[in-house]
Subunit: 305 residues, 2 copies
């Protein structure tokens, strides 16, 4: 086996009341990636898309993640990565994570599977460090483990795969730029204890609802008193999109990652499509370009393509 | 049927990272209660123990809770409650809740079960209002539903029964008085967002661990950065008791309710007994009187006795 092709899916992090810990994997959109052995002890990047991302492996998240893996093995060879991104950079649905995860998962298949998912996650987090300057696993965890993941801790790394029933996500990506630094600085450093209690009550109930497949409880639990109120002003028409989505039958949702994408969850694919129409109708009345996606929550992360 | 006897169990609330939402029911200790019809349209209280609690139904939590129920039915009769408390008042393991819940559950059996558990909870919360001045359901929810309960919201009331594996609690009740007002006022009004995030990550993981029966994850998740650090100074030897319990094999634990009791969870009854010895050894070196209890977490709340 000289090369491995994978599909590395988009992911949603900061799932409503699960800020900084809860995420899930979509089936689509995804990046198509091919990783192959090369004789030279180096990492080479070939971009097949038009996003003009760096080909210097130290400046490309996939290169950094794969470099971390290569540093851990005693190899005289290297890797070439071909990347055809289907996930727009800066969309807030884990574009950089997909590249990082796709690279290390594909390389691990080439190497006969010597690394565990948790080890691959550590490598991918090196890519996230380059992308965001912070050691966080909210997108890379679902991208590698699939499904819903809860990152209990990053130091040490502790990831929980959650049970969940059939669920469908609708995502709208307004093509505006939100700087991660701005999304961070807009958050309060301190929060009222009573709001924190309400948030963790909601998260506990949401995790229980996922496990029981209780959609009504999921809907009641998807409420965030802390992060969404602070950040939603960064996203045009946020309240309108949310209201219209709920009216169309969505269980709930919020800001994906640190935005600008907005996601909504539904119990049925038909509802998720109605939500897509409702979202698009709101943005069609603005000057903002946008994309929409409908996808089942995927129980697998990066997969053979 | 003229009278009904019930056992109303002790409960633990504020379960580590689940402050103000997570609680569970013990099998013992419990209050023994008998509720019987009387011809007069009133509530009469007979105390069979030596705790010298009020017999005025407006000043006794069981009387208040049962009064709330009686107000909801068109009855020309009343109830007499005989109470033999096995749960010491002020212990922090739901003594007042047991009396409130026992009274309304027993009366509901007499009435042929016309009220739902959620309705009974509303009545019992009236008793809690008298006891603590606050509308909270952290102890009454597990006392009525049994097992582990998560109170997502009190307004409107939203209670989630959690799945859980076999678990055993060890409780030590140091016989000191902690005023609820002091336990409240010692809490910060605002908390660092990063601590709140760690707490809800832990709670999410703990709920998942209960559902999966993953004891190791339970142990890693039982960590509270917010309430325990503020309140533990109110309880002599708290750190020593916790350290000794963990060394004896406990999964984790913390302050029960707002104290003074300390509880620890174990996966086996034998371990819970070793934890009891370890706790008792610490307090035996102090001047503080104490009781200890070992009990399985009970899947039923108030039960026929």
């Amino acid at each position: 086996m000289d090369e491995v092709r994978v599909l590395a899916p988009a992911t949603v992090s900061n799932v409503v009341c699960g800020f900084d810990c809860l995420g899930f994997a979509l089936e689509r959109p995804f990046d198509k990636m091919t990783v192959r052995h090369i004789k030279e002890h180096e990492i080479r990047i070939v971009n097949l898309d038009n996003f003009d991302l760096p080909t210097d492996p130290k400046k490309n998240v996939a290169g950094v993640a794969l470099g971390a893996l290569l540093n851990r093995i005693d190899a005289d060879f290297g890797f070439e990565i071909e990347i055809n991104k289907g996930i727009r950079p800066g969309s807030g649905i884990g574009s950089s994570s997909a590249s990082s995860c796709g690279a290390v998962v594909a390389a691990n298949i080439l190497l006969g599977g010597r690394f565990s998912k948790l080890e691959l996650l550590e490598f991918a987090m090196q890519g996230e460090m380059l992308a965001s300057g912070a050691r966080h696993a909210d997108n890379v965890a679902p991208c590698i483990f699939g499904g819903f993941t809860l990152v209990r801790s990053t130091e040490p790394l502790d990831v929980v795969s959650l049970d969940f029933p059939p669920l469908f996500a609708t995502v709208i990506h307004p093509q505006i730029e939100i700087r991660t630094s701005e999304a961070r600085s807009i958050l309060p450093e301190h929060v009222p204890l009573k709001d924190a209690v309400q948030n963790w009550s909601n998260l506990g109930a949401f995790v229980a609802a996922l496990g029981k497949g209780n959609y009504a409880l999921m809907a009641r639990s998807m409420d965030d008193l802390i992060v969404e109120p602070a950040r939603k002003s960064l996203i045009p028409k946020f309240d309108e999109v949310k209201d219209a989505s709920l009216a169309a039958g969505a269980l709930g949702g919020g800001i994906s990652g640190s935005g600008p994408s907005i996601f909504m969850l539904s119990s049925r694919i038909e509802t998720a499509s109605l939500v897509e129409e409702a979202m698009a109708a709101i943005y069609a009345e603005t000057d903002v370009e946008f994309n929409t996606y409908v996808s089942q929550i995927s129980s697998s992360g990066v997969r053979h393509g």
